[in-house]
């Protein structure tokens, strides 16, 4: 769909269809972008506002004639950088923490057959939290479907560094299952 959209955007730029296409992309991806921004430490209100801003920037860039081959990669790159700026502005506040640990660690009202899975996810979550910031960023962006070069562009690191960060992250996460 991304490629298709990119083609449409390239050939049909300037028409009202552009707004429709960005709107469609917004509806499909906004939750993912919002969640990614939460994991960056933005509070929910700022994360939502920032996610909306990212799609408006996409529209503005396309209107200005920018060639965007992979809109999803572009969106996450801009979201990452914009999110960091917003985070920097709220630097006097502590980063948002959804406290997933507490939820995962409290088995109350969890059906018995889900307990095992909940426990596994708790271990997995702890392993994710134990990753370095760069490993975590690479992992989250990869989970959002970005390719190594796109992740590298978003984080300002080389493609090979992305590969290495992901390798280490996966090796660490794999241990959770093996333990």
């Amino acid at each position: 769909m991304d490629v298709h959209l990119a083609q449409i955007l390239r050939h049909d730029r300037g028409l009202p269809a552009l707004q429709a296409q960005v709107t469609q992309l917004f509806e499909e991806c906004r939750e993912d972008v919002y969640r990614y921004l939460l994991t960056l430490g933005l509070d929910p209100a700022r994360a939502q506002e920032s996610a909306q801003e990212v799609f408006l920037r996409l529209y503005a860039s396309l209107k200005k004639g920018e060639q965007i081959q992979n809109p999803r990669g572009w969106i996450f790159r801009v979201a990452h950088n914009y999110g960091l700026k917003v985070r920097a502005r709220q630097s006097n506040e502590s980063a948002f923490d959804a406290d997933l640990e507490s939820w995962l660690a409290s088995p109350a009202r969890t059906p018995e057959h889900e307990l095992l899975e909940r426990e596994r996810m708790l271990h997995f979550h702890r392993a994710v939290e134990g990753l370095s910031e760069q490993q975590k960023r690479c992992l989250f962006l990869r989970m959002e479907g970005l390719r190594y070069p796109e992740i590298g562009a978003a984080l300002g690191i080389s493609t090979s560094a992305v590969g290495e960060f992901l390798r280490r992250a996966m090796a660490r996460l794999r241990k959770v299952r093996d333990e």
Binding site: T39, T159, M170
Partner: protein
Amino acid sequence: MSNWNSQHLDDGLALRYLDGELPARKGRQVRRHLEACWQCRAEIEALETTVADCMRYRKQVLASRLPEPPQAWVDLSRGFDRIDSELSAEPFWKRFAHLPPSLVWSSGAAAMAVLVCAVWYQLREAPSVQAAVLLKKAVAAAENRPITPRRYRIRTHSAAVTRVAGVSKSAEAPLPAAMAAMFADAHYNGVDPLSARSYAGWRDQLSEKRDEVTTGENAYEIRTSTESGDVASATLRLRANDLLPLEGKLEFRNQDFIEFTDLTEAPDLHDGSPVATLGESPVRPAEPSRPAAIAPGSSASISDELQVLSALHGIGADLGDPVEVRLSSGHVEVSGVGVSPERQRQIRSAVESLPHVEVAFSDPGAAPASVQATTPEPAPAFSGTTSGQTAKLQTRLEQQLGGRAELERFSSRVLDWNEAAMARAYALRALAQRFPAGEDSNLSTNDRTVLRQMTREHIDALEVHIRGMESVLAPVLTALGASTAAQPQPAGSSAWQLSAEQVFRSSRRVEVLLSQLLGVASGEKPSADLPTNLLAALRELRANLDECKGLVGQ
């Protein structure tokens, strides 16, 4: 990994294979290996299980347990309308910034404008701009900048070389061994030292560092100090308007240093200046070896010095090696700093059989202040930014030669000739200054013959380089509209030494104009007559060279 059947995949390779990030050929090799190897297949499956765990975590934890957006999502159409009206209200000139990227120059300029605004804004907002951010922007700016050859000089205590960035590296001679070793010790990229990427690469590998960013007139300066490694501190100066690196320096703990300076941005020699008004080269004038009247015998004479010079000339050590020859305390001292061991051996072997010779080489770190390299340091000759006129010429040149790659090859070839020609012009001038007009009459007939032989060899070699340049350049310049100037007149010198000085000056003029033509540098006002001027300068050089040759033969 040539034999995939006998070597198992490491987990990095396996992950890149699963993610489709391997080049097609390598991917096929891995696939063939997996067909044969159960162990690696099991590894791949385990990795896929971890991938599945990640996605389950994303779905079950991140997607379901992170807080919902606090408000309903807005309709973006209002935002679209705002953007539309803002864009339509933009002044005309600003719309140039939105041209498609196919117009590289235009979009590059727009990117620069945005970049400059962003940097200015950041500096205004936060006085302590992080060096990393500035470097990152400078790297991005370099990537957006059209690739044009740029000349820069690398200088150490003992040597200086001029290099060209933006051309095929294979076209360049390797760095002198001592210089390359210093870069290696510094863990700094010596292939392209004057770049934000190289500086960032060096800075990133430091385990401990302190940065300072200062804003000077039209430039930012990043200074990084560290307690680790051989380098105590490094600086990089970036031009404010486009973050082009202007100069950099590595300062070693042993007081040694490497400087790299963009020659494109140095003070200019005006394009239209007559040869006679061109500035002096900053090259250290070779001191005449005195006294000329030292008699042959127990102590060294000017004759001994000449023999040493001749021996060094015989192995090409007068064409840029950091070797100094002086007549002092009854000896001919041959000294050098930072000369490679192999070259030291050659030099010793060339002069050791000669009388009254003392040879002393030293390491760069222990260089006595009085010893200077004889490597020519070309005068900083250029300034300003690429003008429309130069850009237009560049485009025409590119079209005429058949594309950018051809232009690069052409530039590389001509600049190589020019480098070689300048080395000869410097050597010729050094001889003229060491044995000034009138004083060479103190030499014996035999010594005069030796001196003139050396001089003639420099002239002949220079002539070959000039002819080479002319044969390639003349048709191109004519096609660019150069008119055939009137037959140039030589300077009318009375002695070969004076003529050698004119040869040197006309060589410099050719170098300046050539650099402008090839976009390696630009003068403030590159003349529309640049092709005509260059052709005329080449012919003038030939005329002066012919005159010099004639005078040497007398």
